[in-house]
């Protein structure tokens, strides 16, 4: 960076009395984008929509006899969630009427561009799968077309789930820039939420074999999700240390673990009925939202030295 002489050389022996720490040394440099709670909701709905589709699609393709009836309900629900998510994405822009400008180019190096394209492409097979699922209810069954739409939606659906964390970690914002496992956590959490939603649908529809399988899958995924969550917490530990006391960190960590993992785990182990499935989903979504909300708020918190931009 420094051409002719390096600052290390220049400041190895700072002159006594000269206020080299003065000036702008302790002032914020980075500007925080106007991303607030709406982004936390966006991240949650993105995970709920893509996760539900992926969980339903994977289960249906692996065991169509057991999962097809639930998947046919899951796709329209995923579409509704995705539409809400897209609405938030558009609404959060400085100029919402220019949303389509994101589609004038494809930039693999821009997570937002990748995400927008994935979401746009994903919305097409998802809409087709949802429409064909609803049509099947009326007797117009185009099963091959529905399955084709589901298969076509897998890759963009996964991309739409995976880009969000990368978007929120590939930047210069305090805290966010160190969150190497944000993407890993969010994509893993999306499948977990999807599995929980599918489990609830199966329980509500009285699909016993599907409920039994999804119950076990949910427990496995719930335990698995602790790994990326723990890694994310480790990434954010230096940031949290600036924002919270050790006691507060422990308290929040335990609260998240208990509310988001232990309670859903206990409820699912305790009973296989729709009520426990509903309780599990509620606690899981609450934990997922809190994590996203706390994460989104990090750069806005003044001690980390950034200002609104």
């Amino acid at each position: 960076m420094h051409g002719t002489s390096t600052p290390q050389q220049a400041f190895a022996k700072p002159a006594p009395g000269v206020g080299s720490e003065s000036g702008y040394a302790n002032m914020p440099v980075i500007k925080v984008p106007g991303w607030h709670g709406i982004i936390a909701w966006d991240a949650l709905l993105n995970g709920m929509a893509t996760g539900l589709f992926l969980a339903a699609a994977v289960s249906e393709l692996a065991a169509p006899v057991i999962f097809a009836p639930i998947a046919k309900v899951a796709y329209p629900v995923a579409l509704v969630l995705l539409l809400f998510d897209l609405g938030l994405l558009v609404f959060d822009l400085g100029d919402p009427l220019r949303f389509h400008h994101m589609l004038r180019i494809f930039k693999p190096g821009s997570p937002m561009s990748v995400g927008t394209w994935c979401l746009t492409i994903f919305s097409l097979p998802l809409t087709a799968a949802a429409a064909l699922s609803l049509l099947a209810e009326t007797g117009l069954d185009f099963e091959w077309a529905r399955i084709l739409a589901v298969v076509l939606g897998l890759l963009p659906g996964f991309g739409a789930a995976a880009y969000k964390g990368v978007l929120l970690s590939t930047n210069a914002q305090p805290g966010w820039k160190d969150a190497r496992w944000m993407g890993g956590y969010l994509s893993n959490s999306a499948i977990l939420m999807g599995c929980a939603e599918l489990h609830l649908l199966a329980a509500l529809m009285g699909q016993r074999p599907a409920t039994a399988i999804l119950r076990i899958a949910f427990i496995v995924l719930l335990v698995l999700n602790v790994i990326p969550l723990g890694l994310l917490f480790r990434n954010l530990q230096p940031t949290h240390a600036q924002l919270y006391t050790r006691q507060q960190q422990w308290r929040v960590g335990v609260l998240i673990f208990v509310a988001g993992t232990l309670i859903p785990l206990g409820l699912t182990l305790f009973s296989s009925g729709p009520l426990s499935a509903f309780g599990s989903v509620v606690f899981l979504l609450l934990e997922s939202w809190v994590i996203r909300f706390v994460y989104v708020k990090i750069p806005h918190t003044s001690p980390l030295g950034s200002k609104a931009g």
Partner: protein, 309 residues
């Protein structure tokens, strides 16, 4: 003033032929997809700012505001020396910074230049005119999903205001806190390096107005040569602290087409000591994101396959 600007921008331009609402909508949808012919590349231009001769007159700020027709930000007392500009923003593309480094021991800050040079512990003012760094590998350019941010034919980082949709990805990614989203139009703005003037063979307004030649404008290679000679000259004149910031790439950041000659640590001037390009993490973040998602899908599939019979 802002509301008047809004009214004016809403008025139809005299060159626009009257159109119906439908045609206007169609035009609005199609317009961003029209890609013009890129101009022929020209020699890369930039700024070299010699902070040792800056006198803090703010002529550059005024010239920038005047030429680019940027509105006033109001007259606020920041309490930080003579700096009442406070920061770069969507309407302030030049920011003159003032750093007072005075020992408490001396009763008067007024010392002769000879005494200051001879003294190992000089009391001094540091002043610097800050602006966009026009980075060669600019994080804002990499982040922009619309392609609104481009490197123009002079290799300057330029925001096409008619394309930007205000997603704020550029704001999040700039490690210097330069780009800001305007509350007025919802689009991002920053220094254009007076692209319009350059196209007409003129130097940028700030460089033209600078009375001490602290701001040098020209082909980047020539500026680097000039800056290195100046550093050597300063070293010879007993200012060993002098060094260049941003003239050469580091392991974590590209060279900048606007670089500075500094005599104290970068952070004293409100610059990051070790700027980091967030994109260095992107591939790893994608890998972790895919791993997190694929691990969950694999776990779900294993459970489904094991239990479906």
């Amino acid at each position: 003033m802002a509301s008047r600007e809004k009214q004016l921008s809403a008025l139809p331009q005299t060159s626009d032929a009257p159109r119906g609402r439908l045609l206007e909508l169609v035009e609005r949808l199609i317009y961003p997809f029209r890609h013009g012919e890129p101009p022929e590349p020209r020699p890369a231009t930039g700024f070299y700012t010699d902070t040792t001769v800056c006198i803090g007159c703010k002529a550059c700020e005024v010239a920038c505001k005047q030429w680019n027709q940027l509105p006033s930000d109001g007259f606020n007392w920041s309490g930080n020396s003579y700096d009442n500009t406070a920061e770069l923003s969507a309407t302030t593309w030049r920011h003159v910074k003032f750093i007072e480094q005075f020992s408490q021991e001396l009763p008067s800050p007024l010392v002769s230049l000879d005494a200051a040079v001879a003294d190992a512990n000089p009391n001094r003012w540091l002043m610097m005119s800050d602006h966009c760094k026009h980075c060669l590998a600019a994080p804002c350019h990499q982040a922009c999903p619309t392609g609104a941010i481009i490197h123009n034919e002079f290799e300057n980082v330029y925001i096409q205001a008619d394309i930007c949709n205000g997603c704020s990805c550029c704001v999040a990614s700039c490690p210097f806190g330069v780009i800001t989203r305007s509350e007025l139009g919802g689009h991002s703005h920053k220094c254009t390096l007076c692209y319009d003037r350059q196209r007409d063979g003129l130097e940028p307004a700030c460089a033209k107005a600078c009375p001490t030649q602290s701001i040098h404008f020209g082909p980047v290679e020539e500026l680097r040569e000039q800056a290195r000679k100046r550093v050597e000259e300063l070293h010879g004149r007993g200012v060993p602290q002098a060094y260049l910031y941003g003239d050469a790439p580091t392991d974590t950041y590209s060279e900048m087409h606007s670089f500075y000659l500094l005599v104290d640590r970068p952070s004293v001037y409100g610059l990051p000591d070790d700027p980091f390009n967030p994109w260095l993490h992107m591939m790893g973040d994608y890998v972790r994101s895919f791993t997190g998602g694929l691990a969950a899908i694999a776990a779900l599939l294993v459970v489904v396959f094991l239990l479906k019979t």
